[in-house]
Amino acid sequence: MKILVPFKSVPDPNDVTVAGAAASTPKWVINPFDEIAIEEALRIRERGEATEIVGVTIGAPAVDEQIRAALAMGVDRAIRIDDSRALDPYAVARILGAVVEKEAPHVVIMGKQAVDDDSNQVGQMLAGLLGWPQATFVSKIEFLDNRTRAQCTRETDGGLEVVAIKLPAIITTDLRLNEPRYVSLPGLMKARHKLIETLTCDQLGVTVRPRTTTLSISSPPKRAAGTRVESVEELVAKLRQEQVL
């Protein structure tokens, strides 16, 4: 079984120096949800259910650092779509659609959302474009019937839900699917010999134009700091005053 894992480079979410402002020279990492997807693909391969794991990302040459990290985790080879434009989720989904046509994976596993954009759209759009089944916000994956179907547990607003989907399919990962392994030194050294293929959208045969334009970015209004209370009695009195009690 071949698994395609799309991943995105994002500013390190643990590195915010001032709330609301990105660090002046942000450290870039693989989107945490995509890291979980990579880890899941590795585990599926480790239990003998997959033979090849291919990573794909879209960006300028600078994202090669994250590609090497993915290869160091254990991804077999990676594709970088050379495009440094500010794309929107639909454009990303269309590009990934072309990669799926080229690579013909049995399953695409990717993060449910990127922690910088928080849109949570790409996986579902990709599934719609391909006409493939989808399982979103997944916290457990099991393959059934000789790997022709996947049974997925999903984290929804109402609790856990289980669906079974035919392959090929798109699966988006949620937080509790697994805990990703850290990049190891042997992994880093092996990664140097792994293939990174660079393709432009033209070479891929897809033309996309993002239709979302960002006009401005601002800080949300800051909540004013409140007051300390010294006791339960004082707290209850204040809440009474606020008429919430």
């Binding site: 090497r68 850290y182 990049v183 190891s184 030194l185 042997p186 880093l188």
Partner: protein, 381 residues
Amino acid sequence: MDFAWSDQQRELLDAVGRFATQQLNYDVIKNDREGIFNHEAWKKCGDFGIQGLLVPTDYGGLGTDPLTTVAVLERLGYACKDNGLLFSINAHMWTAVIPLVYNGTEAQKKKYLPGLCNGTLIGGNAMSEPNSGSDAFALATTAIKKGSRYLLNGSKIFVTNGPIADLLVVFATADKTRGSDAISAFLVEKNSPGMNVARKLEKMGLRTSPMAEVFFENCEVPEENLLGKEGGGAFLFTRSMTWERGCILASAVGSMQRLLEMCIRYANERKQGGHSIGKFQLVASKIVDMKLRVESSRQMLYHYAWLSGHRKAVYLEAAMTKLHISDCWVKCCEDAIQIHGGYGYMTEYEVERELRDAIASKLYSGTSEIQRNIVASMLGL
């Protein structure tokens, strides 16, 4: 001279820093107080590849060159606060892994190195005895050949990793009267019949690194576990000790850097008399001295490693590196406590533990006095 790291080295160092910061710094105060070895952290280091540095890839190692190796260990010392864990890793690498790499037969290397590299096997050595420390080769532990086995008799002290080791490199003599020529090294697996790992020894520092006395009473060692040649033990010991002297304090350079940064932060934040204490020259001066020690230690370390990587003789440089870094480390720790004042004395601030850990560096791998003797003799005195 190119003092810059390559992109690849930088990638490795960044990965080490991130790994150690996120994975190794938990429960250190508690483990230090109770003398507990962090097995889980050891395994993580094994998975990460630390124990396999320097070992050829054929045997499951990373095959890194000495300079990259010490840089990784330095970064590890910077990012990991558990000096005891690092001490156990170092003991494992220099006293068990290196002797096997240089003196092991193919069969021995294939049998032990992969496990030693990935952390599933823990190694150490047993050299010092109650009556022979600095006088290293005055061994009383004997190894007498009987048929296809050697029988070991004697007692070893200060065996780092003793309580947890799967494999010990044990030095014993065939004839106490013949001095160093009669010494051989043996690979002794744990639970060998006649081997008794006795009580755990309580230490001043490095308390998360377990240490024990080990007794041998007609301990049977199969002849295929002779490491190197019969009578070649002293040479084997000296060669691996040279590696040890050069490399064992690489992580200390990282620890010193961490202490330096802690002290700068504290000196800028702590205010007395209306301004930060860093403005007092007596405080600033100590920090300057710390900085000088870090830099000079680092340069000596890298120079030693560069020479080693270029296959130059490093007996002198190894001794100087060990002597200098241990001196610097202890002094840095003393200064760090002083700069932090009363807080430096409190366990919670994790400054006092650094000094307790550092003091041993003037004792192991040859005391500072022995290192001075070596340097003096190499200078022709």
